[in-house]
Symmetry: C2
Subunit: 275 residues, 2 copies
């Protein structure tokens, strides 16, 4: 067995988002330090843990919408999740889920859980942006290097690759379009599923890096829609900014599987030290 397979077993995304029942509507989980960036879990990782708890609480299988408010950034280690079904419908359940660490609420989210079918062609998709055209192998891999001595162990778990057009910020030559296109893979042999797509929508660098360097861009609100089960393999990602204003920026994210099927979308409002 290869080292990467063993690592997937231990630190794979499915493992590090696991939640165990711990009383009615209550779950225990553990944030892995192997999936942090600068010592912190990203919003998508936390949302995926809430998604696991929401699906376990409801009669349905797949989170199709999730909206989160980030209250406090939890550190690696044990967390509790409280999930409550607000309405159990025939085709979907609506769930509230909250993550707590050391007695402090960290994230609260509202989720819709339903059933996603096998990916087939969408009925109509002319309104979506086109996926990128550059092959995985021809994209620039973001190095798993700390920008200023910070621990970026997350970057050993994922493979973020940017189309050369989107990689200008790496050499301080952002294009000014506010768009990053590329690919995202999970290290080792792990494939994406409906739950890890909640993570995928929050893994790319801020689209504002393609406009102007502004340091950390903390998410205020994140909403994700999961549209279909992805085919195995890395996914294509487009992260784009619309408007920077009053120290806030909104970003949209589109995720396609390798067959070109749109499988996830998200929007977020984030703080920024510009505008």
């Amino acid at each position: 067995m290869s080292g990467s397979r063993a690592s997937v077993r231990k630190h794979g995304f499915t493992q590090v988002t696991e939640v165990s029942p711990d009383g009615p509507g209550r779950f225990a989980g553990e944030i892995s330090s192997e999936w942090t960036f600068g010592g912190r879990a990203n919003g998508g990782y936390l949302l995926a843990m809430l998604g696991r708890a929401a699906a376990a609480t409801s009669a349905h299988s797949h989170v199709i919408t999730a909206s989160a408010q980030y209250l406090r950034s939890p550190g690696p280690g044990a967390v509790a999740i409280v999930a409550e079904v607000l309405r159990a419908g025939r085709t979907a359940s609506q769930v509230r889920a909250r993550m707590i660490q050391d007695g402090q609420p960290c994230v609260e989210a509202l989720l819709t859980v339903a059933e996603l079918g096998k990916a087939s062609a969408p009925y109509w998709e002319a309104g979506a942006p086109a996926p990128g055209q550059v092959d995985y192998e021809d994209c620039v891999r973001l190095a798993p290097r700390a920008p200023a001595g910070a621990s970026v162990s997350l970057m050993n778990q994922i493979d973020v690759r940017l189309e050369p057009d989107s990689a200008g910020f790496l050499t301080r030559q952002p294009s000014g379009r506010g768009q990053l296109r590329g690919w995202l893979g999970l290290s080792g042999v792990e494939a994406f599923d409906a739950n890890s797509l909640l993570f995928a929508v929050d893994t790319f660098p801020p689209a504002t890096f393609d406009i102007e360097w502004a340091g950390w861009v903390p998410t205020l609100e994140l909403t994700a829609y999961i549209r279909a089960l992805p085919a195995p393999g890395p996914v294509r990602v487009l992260q784009r900014a619309h408007v920077i204003d009053a120290q806030r920026v909104d970003e949209a994210c589109f995720v396609w599987d390798r067959t070109g099927r749109l499988v996830a979308q998200a929007t977020q409002l984030a703080g920024i030290r510009l505008g």
Copy 2:
């Protein structure tokens, strides 16, 4: 005093979204039958009521993000709203708010309340779609007529005008682009404010009308971002669909004030009888 001014006093949006304190973290409100369509309040009206309660509960003034799960559609009449501050920060408060009618939860939302400044030019907005170019007077007003005998009193309170390019569905000639552009005004002399923009993002017909007729398109999840205080007067709206799939469609909405300033954005996932 003109009739329209009197009507604004009685049935203006500010009046019909009013909430009164009714115990700690609890508010009483009343859904006006004058603002319903087919006997039901739209999701944006309900969100604006939750927004009033969220702002009243927090130390900040304006809702800047709101994400809602619609559980049951309340009818006209009394509602209770329970609002709780999840985190009170220096620059923003994060609030959960829930609307209840006859003991049944109807809507639950997570909101960020902060301060919006006077509208100035955005720092960067090249990522947003361009606002429409057709003047208000040259757009086609949606008639306040019931499609099949249903009461559409809402249409007497608002003025929805479509650019001629977007009005094809009225004569069964949708363009196929999945985009509706036009204007939205409040009847009488009332101007939009940060709170009524939560309503504005949910007033246009479904963008899918510009693709194919599919009847009612019920909102599953709605997320709105309010970006700036609007200038007085009607607002420009762009409602567009991205992907129709597995009986669900995602729509994005952009709202500009009459000076061309982007003031609000929203996304929603809705059910549809196509795909």
